[in-house]
């Protein structure tokens, strides 16, 4: 289907579409299934489409026939009947029977979706505003997964990549041919984890655990998005699943385990301001930018500016407290202590206190965060 053809003008065609867009073919059906669940849903939908489409065509045909033949302008005189018990019983019973026919496979599919037992691997998924975290519970490591599309591509100042808005820095890696059980929860508001080709959509609910499962047929990259409105950047928290053969998965897992051991921060390390700032800028970019913005100016009325902020330029303890425990006044400011390490929090606070127009020259060491945490606990 060509939009250019539709408008029929060259000026319009440049308005309508870049070459990257034209390269994509608009799909009109569910994505190609890559799990038994997705296939089940696909087939069930195809069946429903046939049944409902057939009913619609039948209704349309009868109506069109009446419209053409039983019109006054064609000289048709009205017959004044207004009931017929037999007909009425028939058109009540037949839809019931059709529904019973649908209900049988539909019930089996629901039971299948719900049977999460016999898993070979368990991954905990946590939704955050606006990113996902994946924890491999069997192996005790985990990571955050952020949108990888650059802000410039969203603003339109650079070309949009092929997987625009559907790319992340760290995909969820899973083995093919193994039953993966997902445990889903959320940190702040309700999110929903949807990967069409895997046949999964499950809400992630703060304070509760839900489960789901899949077993991927073949290696590949499967993309999806959050599908429950979760605030400002709901449209910008994609999901990418990288399914690998069991051997490749084992390689990846071994590398991950090694990396996790190596990159563990020494909580006692004393950092320099330059090193903390460098790390803090990264942490800020991954976590704080959506609200407080890259320039630290925030969004007036919704999210306060950090540039020149009395909290950031004031007493260290107040600053640490709000980052660790969140804001009482504005629930959008989360308690970051629950998701960032002492070192990351120390780094981002040090960065904020020495970025933009803030020149406190002060730095916060991880040990101070640790002290603040235990202080808050006691």
């Amino acid at each position: 289907m060509s939009c250019r053809y539709m408008l029929g003008s060259t000026a319009a065609s440049s308005l309508f579409a870049s070459t990257a867009i034209q390269a994509q073919v608009a799909a009109i059906n569910l994505q190609a299934p890559a799990t038994s669940l997705a296939r089940l849903e696909y087939d069930l939908h195809s069946m429903l489409l046939l049944v409902t489409g057939g009913i619609f065509l039948l209704v349309l045909a009868v109506m069109l026939y009446a419209i053409v033949r039983h019109r006054k302008s064609a000289g048709h005189a009205a017959k004044l009947f207004h009931e017929n018990t037999t007909v009425e019983i028939i058109w009540t019973i037949i839809p019931l029977l059709i529904l019973l026919l649908i209900a049988w496979p539909a019930t089996q599919a629901v039971l299948n979706q719900k049977s999460t037992r016999g898993e070979e691997l368990t991954i905990k998924i946590t939704g955050y505003q606006w990113k996902w975290r994946y924890d491999y519970l069997d192996d005790n490591f985990g990571f955050m997964s952020h949108l990888a599309t650059p802000a410039a591509a969203i603003a339109g100042t650079v070309a949009k990549p092929v997987n625009y808005l559907l790319e992340v820095d760290e995909p969820l890696v899973v083995p093919t041919g193994r039953k993966v059980r997902l445990l889903l929860t959320a940190n702040d508001v309700i999110h929903s984890w949807w990967v069409p080709q895997l046949g999964i959509k499950q809400d992630a609910i703060p304070g509760f655990l839900r489960d789901a499962w899949f077993m991927v047929d073949r290696p590949g990259i499967y993309r999806g998005q959050c599908s429950e409105l979760c605030g400002k950047d709901h449209g910008f928290m994609p999901i990418v699943v990288d399914a690998r053969s069991p051997e490749d998965y084992e390689h990846w897992r071994a590398a991950r385990l090694k990396q996790a051991a190596a990159s563990a921060d020494d909580p006692a390390r004393v950092w320099t301001l330059a090193a903390l700032r460098e790390r803090g800028e990264k942490v800020y970019g991954q976590n704080c930018i959506p609200c407080h913005q890259a320039n630290g100016k925030g969004i007036p009325g919704s999210f306060p500016a950090l540039d020149g902020s009395p909290v950031v330029n004031g007493d260290k303890a107040g600053h640490i407290n709000i980052v660790l425990n969140g804001s009482q006044k504005n629930p959008a400011m989360q308690a970051w202590g629950k998701q960032l390490s002492d070192t990351d929090i120390a780094a981002v606070i040090s960065y904020e206190r020495n970025a933009w127009g803030n020149h406190t020259g002060q730095l916060v060491q991880p040990a101070e965060i640790r002290a603040a945490r235990t202080g808050a606990a006691s």
């Binding site: 939009c3 539709m6 867009i21 994509q24 799909a27 569910l30 994505q31 069930l44 939908h45 409902t52 009913i55 209704v59 009446a66 419209i67 039983h70 019109r71 006054k72 048709h76 009205a78 017959k79 004044l80 207004h82 017929n84 058109w91 009540t92 019931l96 529904l99 649908i102 209900a103 539909a106 599919a109 629901v110 039971l111 299948n112 979706q113 719900k114 339109g156 808005l165 508001v189 309700i190 929903s192 069409p196 959509k201 499950q202 809400d203 609910i205 304070g207 509760f208 839900r210 489960d211 993309r223 599908s227 409105l229 979760c230 605030g231 400002k232 709901h234 449209g235 969004i299 919704s302």
Partner: protein
């Protein structure tokens, strides 16, 4: 009947003039007109918000609106269309037409009627005002799901108060409709004889009385969670975010029928008139409408199939939802059987009624698809749902409203609308409605979530088509406005009976309907669906 006593009350022969006529209105026709004009204005406001949404979605990338404003636009579009446009429009029609159709002198509670209308403008003002408060309007979608709605700024508080006021207004309007229908029918107008529009309004009114307080409860819980330290929806305090959804959808699903049943009623009046044939299966229509009303309380959790309900709950709500297809199917079959072997003509009201049947059937069938929980896992929260409920609410509720306005315009105003403009309005709306919303089925199937301000590149083409369609559809509504404004002053004078097949009570009145009609109850001999066989008495003025 109670009406005999009312007839003894001396009638007020004069009416207040100027702004007093409207601000102090107690006449059901004046209040009906207020409702209808108000609803149309809100339809334009909600429509402009929709066009903002479609403008942003014309291309990938962020062009016009930042995500937080985009979320406010989708939220307010929904709230305004549901509570500001569709519901008041149906209440306005019921106000205007019910007394004429059942032979009542006015609505039962004339002053309360005034109050239920005049609550609407301040409520809508609160909603619109929320765009300019710090933090902007509510941005949690029209469903206002907690905990997101607990996070938002003071725009959310304004929204909550607006919903409270709207709820009070709807409940009072509904009580008025119930009491009018139960108590003020003219002698001879039995319950199982009265027009389907009266039946539909009656059942709708009961649904409103039952569920608007539930909505008020839901948003009040959000309010106390926001400001007064409760934890209804906060797991850390022993609450449950999903509780909000249960409470909201216990309101929300009957709400769907609050917006659909009056449409069924209108179509059940229009089709027989233009088919010149009595409504087929009147009794089964009454039972079908009632059972839809009852079933609507038992299906709410089909909006929550992906929240992680236990399998048994999913199955129950799936079966109950599928069951609704049966009475709904009965209604569609009855309408077609009414058309069958009729002597049809296709004036604008009939065109919109037929368009309604056709497109509502599509919306109903996509509803069956969505009811199958396993398939809903793919479609929930996607554009497929957006397509589905716009087939039900635009092609359903809105088309039926257009049908009704064209149908009763001569009786209300004494003038005919311009038929050619009406036909143009219909064909234009039919075409661009489908251009706008049909591709959304494809978008949803292909994996595009709803309520996103920006999208992946493979969704571009259908979004562009939908955006073009939306702007054209919006433009077409001006045809309607021009037609109405022109015809109010320049339309041809209408006959008492402008439609050959119209034989319900309102067509026995002079045209335009006198300011005070049936000040003395007529003695009626009525056949099914309010068809008047004989009438004696019935004074006006």
């Amino acid at each position: 009947m109670a009406i005999a006593g009312l007839a003894a009350v001396p009638q007020q022969s004069h009416r207040p003039h100027g702004w007093r006529r409207w601000l102090f209105a107690t006449n059901h026709k004046d209040i009906g007109s207020l409702y209808l004009w108000f609803a149309f204005c809100m339809f334009l406001v909600g429509g402009v918000l929709a066009l903002c949404i479609r403008a942003e979605l014309f291309r990938p990338g962020l062009q016009f609106f930042q995500p937080e404003l985009f979320n406010q636009l989708t939220t307010l579009h929904g709230l305004i269309m549901v509570f500001g446009a569709i519901m008041p429009a149906f209440t306005g029609l019921a106000n205007w037409m019910l007394p004429l159709m059942i032979g009542a002198p006015d609505m039962a509670f004339a002053r309360m009627n005034n109050w239920s209308f005049w609550l609407l403008p301040p409520a809508m003002a609160l909603l619109l005002l929320s765009f300019v408060v710090p933090g902007g309007a509510a941005a949690a979608g029209w469903t206002l799901y907690a905990p997101l709605s607990v996070q938002l700024g003071m725009g959310m508080d304004l929204t909550i108060f607006a919903i409270h006021i709207l709820g009070v207004s709807s409940i009072m309007g509904a009580i008025n409709i119930v009491v009018t229908i139960i108590n003020l029918r003219a002698p001879g107008m039995g319950m199982m004889k009265m027009p389907m529009f009266a039946w539909a309004s009656l059942i709708t009114a009961y649904l409103i009385i039952a569920v608007m307080p539930v909505l008020a409860g839901a948003v009040t819980m959000v309010l106390t969670d926001r400001h007064f330290g409760t934890h209804f929806f906060n797991a850390a305090g022993g609450g449950d975010p999903i509780l909000y959804q249960h409470v909201f959808w216990f309101f929300g699903h009957p709400e769907v029928y609050i917006m659909a049943l009056p449409a069924f009623g209108i179509v059940s009046q229009v089709i027989p008139t233009f088919a010149r044939k009595p409504l087929f299966g009147y009794t089964s229509m009454v039972y079908a409408t009632s059972s839809i009303g009852v079933l609507s309380f038992m299906v709410w959790a089909h909006h929550m199939f992906v929240t992680g309900m236990p399998a048994t709950a999913q199955l129950f709500f799936m079966y109950a939802t599928m069951l609704i297809a049966v009475p709904t199917g009965v209604k569609v079959f009855n309408w077609i059987a009414t058309m069958w072997e009729g002597s049809m003509s296709f004036e604008t009201p009939m065109l919109f009624a037929i368009g309604f049947i056709l497109l509502f059937t599509i919306g109903g069938l996509s509803g069956v698809t969505l009811s199958v929980a396993a398939v809903d896992v793919q479609l929930h929260g996607s554009y497929y749902v957006v397509a589905h409920f716009h087939y039900v609410l635009v092609a359903g509720a809105l088309f039926s409203l257009f049908s009704a306005v064209y149908y009763w315009f001569p009786k209300m105003t004494g003038r005919m609308y311009v038929e050619r403009l009406g036909q143009l309005h219909f064909w234009w709306s039919l075409l661009w409605f489908n251009v706008t919303f049909f591709p959304m089925h494809f978008l949803g199937l292909a994996g595009m979530p709803r309520r996103i301000p920006d999208y992946a590149l493979q969704f571009t083409q259908f979004n562009q088509i939908a955006s073009v369609g939306a702007f054209m559809f919006g433009l077409g509504q001006l045809i309607f406005l021009v037609n109405i404004l022109y015809s109010l002053s320049h339309g041809k004078t209408a006959a008492q009976q402008p439609w050959e097949g119209g034989n319900t009570l309102e067509w026995r009145l002079p045209t335009p309907a006198p300011y005070h009609s049936f000040s003395e109850a007529p003695q009626l001999d009525v056949a099914e669906n309010g068809v008047v066989v004989a009438m004696q008495g019935g004074k006006h003025g």
